[in-house]
């Protein structure tokens, strides 16, 4: 009987393709928009993720997220270093500045000031040059986006200069940093140099980065810091989520993306449901004949569900393939860094599609189950 269900489904090409298109379109829209949303939310915490050496972030008690900070004092750093369980703690500056290229082109940049001695906070992947060269005076490391903006038609090379705050800085390294929420270039320099470049306030230290001593958990250290200094401390992972939730709670991004995903779900459900229902209604006499001949209700329900699962599976695969193709095609676009199709999104979309085909087939199943087989004797 599965063969009959398959033949009935594919026999009406227009409806069969219509069903698959509806599911594929819905799948594409849902998975694509959720991927973009997740990518965008990940971007809000990307600079936390880029700091791999330190697992604990310490900040002003009222800090809500990464991009809005109140500076700490030098005394705070010393007090933190005195907390038991801390292996080391270093300052981190995060601010913005304006950089000007040799041709006069300028752009706002995110400036990260790294501890002079350790350079903790520099992204792991240095694609050109050396992190050690940042020890040289008037040196700077830039990310690929920054280099491409200021030197668009050039192969990356070291020694090029940029002006920040009337000081000329030499590029000594090009790093592969994650895309920030606001897609500005990210520059890295020593802490001492960063505060000279942009410093106007009395205190300059945005964060302190710390690492727990061997045998001591991050959670214990976080608790100790808070108790002993009154400062806010979070693990890198927690701070990342704090930042993400800040954006979710305080911006219209989730609502806008949520509306799109909901519309995709609704369109998928309505179009697939209506087409599938019409398909069943048009075959009602045939289903009635099968019931009269002696095919059980359960078998017919199985046939309908099989048809629904086939169109759902094909539509889902096509939709996911479209989304994957989009991200594969755009993976080298620096402005779209960090946007990708995650396995969790594929699973979530699969669940949504399963729900869509469940809705689509429910009305059809009901219609066939209540169908009296005697209907076949009515001309």
């Amino acid at each position: 009987m599965n063969f009959i269900a398959w033949q009935m489904l594919t026999g009406d090409r227009a409806k069969y393709l219509g069903l698959i298109f509806a599911i594929a379109f819905s799948t594409f829209l849902m998975s694509h928009q959720v991927s973009i949303f997740c990518g965008l939310m990940n971007r809000t915490a990307s600079q936390i993720d880029d700091v791999r050496d330190a697992s604990i972030w310490i900040m002003d008690p009222k800090t809500q997220y990464l991009d809005e900070v109140k500076a700490l004092t030098d005394q705070d750093l010393f007090r933190i270093r005195g907390v038991p369980g801390i292996e080391w703690a270093v300052p981190l500056f995060k601010g913005t500045s304006r950089a000007k290229g040799p041709d006069g082109k300028f752009r706002g940049v995110i400036l990260m000031g790294l501890d002079d001695a350790t350079l903790v906070g520099l992204p792991q992947k240095v694609t050109l040059g050396s992190a050690k060269a940042l020890a040289e005076p008037e040196s700077i490391a830039v990310d690929r986006v920054g280099y491409k903006f200021f030197f668009p038609d050039e192969e990356p090379r070291l020694g090029r200069t940029l002006d920040l705050n009337d000081r000329t800085l030499r590029i000594v390294a090009i790093v592969d940093s994650s895309a920030p929420f606001v897609n500005l270039p990210v520059f890295y320099t020593r802490y001492s140099q960063a505060i000279q470049l942009v410093g106007r306030e009395r205190n300059q230290m945005s964060f302190v980065l710390a690492k727990a001593a061997p045998g001591v958990s991050d959670a214990e250290v976080v608790k100790s810091i808070q108790e002993r200094t009154g400062l806010q401390a979070q693990t890198a992972s927690d701070f990342g989520w704090t930042t993400i939730f800040y954006y979710i709670k305080n911006t219209g991004i989730p609502i806008n993306f949520g509306i799109t995903v909901f519309i995709a779900f609704l369109v998928g459900s309505v179009v697939a449901g209506q087409t599938f229902y019409l398909f069943t209604v048009e075959n009602l006499k045939q289903f009635g004949a099968l019931k009269a001949i002696g095919v059980t209700d359960w078998r017919i329900v199985g046939m309908i569900l099989m048809q629904a699962i086939i169109v759902g599976a094909i539509g889902y695969c096509l939709g996911i393939a479209m989304t994957a193709t989009f991200f594969e095609a755009t993976k080298d676009n620096l402005d779209l860094r960090g946007f990708r199709l995650l396995p969790q999104i594929m699973l979530g979309t699969a669940a949504a599609v399963f729900f869509i085909i469940f809705l689509a087939s429910a009305a059809s199943v009901r219609r066939v189950v209540v169908l009296e087989p005697a209907v076949v004797f009515r001309g």
Binding site: M1, F3, I4, Q7, M8, T10, G11, D12, K285, Q286, G288, A289, L290, K291, A292, I293, G294, V295, T296, R299, E372, P373, A374, V376, F377, R378, G379
Partner: protein
């Protein structure tokens, strides 16, 4: 039947009502009818007299509201739910007015449906269907889908579907109403030749007096009752053949 059964169907005072209270409609008002094995019995009468309802009740597609009904020796009251479906699958063959073939299946696949419903292997079922279609003169068209077949050809595929599982009772609802006179005559000849056997009965509901000559007996219905049963010798000849 080999158990000494003489009649495929025995109806005694069969009632069928639709609706209830003031809106109740009595469609069958106490039908008495015997359909012997080895014969082709026609059920005739004016529109709305209850022919199709009686056919549906006999076929187990509708439950009688009262009276007694035995089909192939089995009281219909003992056939409920899954048992009724299984009984139909094993013992009944159906021919419908509009053929009701599945448009996406070939003639052979359509004819094989009752075997597939019974769990047969697809290849074996289709092989048997092709052999039967060959017997019905449709061997060359076994791979054609219904929309590439004429009305007469479609009805022959429907006959194959009704016969393939060798049922004991074949019920036909207006089998010639969608066909022209010549084709109708030919398919009834064919049905009589291949379907009527000593251990099988064919029950035909029809309006078409041109095919009355194929009946062994005719039960005349009016207003929910069988008013008269005519045997072959008493049946008037059709007006066109």
């Amino acid at each position: 039947m080999d158990n000494g059964l003489q009649n495929a169907v025995v109806c005694q005072g069969v009632l069928k009502n639709f609706g209830s209270g003031d809106e109740e409609v009595k469609v069958l008002r106490g039908v008495d009818l015997t359909v012997p094995l080895g014969e082709m019995t026609f059920l005739v009468g004016p529109s709305g007299c209850g022919k199709t309802t009686l056919l549906s009740v006999i076929a187990g597609l509708l439950n009688a509201s009262g009276g007694s009904l035995e089909v192939l020796g089995t009281p219909s009251s003992t056939l409920k739910g899954g048992k009724a479906v299984e009984f139909r699958r094993k013992n009944l063959g159906f021919v419908f007015q509009q053929f009701n073939l599945l448009p996406a299946l070939t003639a052979a696949q359509n004819a094989a449906v009752p075997l597939l419903a019974a769990g047969w292997d697809r290849k074996k079922a289709e092989d048997k269907a092709r052999a039967l279609l060959d017997e019905l003169g449709m061997g060359q068209r076994a791979k054609a889908t219904p929309n590439h077949l004429s009305g007469g050809q479609q009805q022959r595929v429907a006959f194959a579907r009704a016969l393939i599982h060798e049922p004991k009772l074949i019920v036909c609802d207006e089998p010639t109403s969608a066909l022209d006179a010549d084709t109708g005559h030919h398919v009834m000849e064919l049905l009589r030749r291949v379907a009527v056997r000593p251990d099988r009965s064919v029950l035909v509901v029809t309006h078409d007096s041109r095919i009355f000559e194929f009946a062994d007996r005719i039960a005349y219905m009016n207003d929910g009752l069988v008013t008269r049963v005519a045997l072959k010798a008493e049946i008037p000849k059709g007006d066109s053949h």
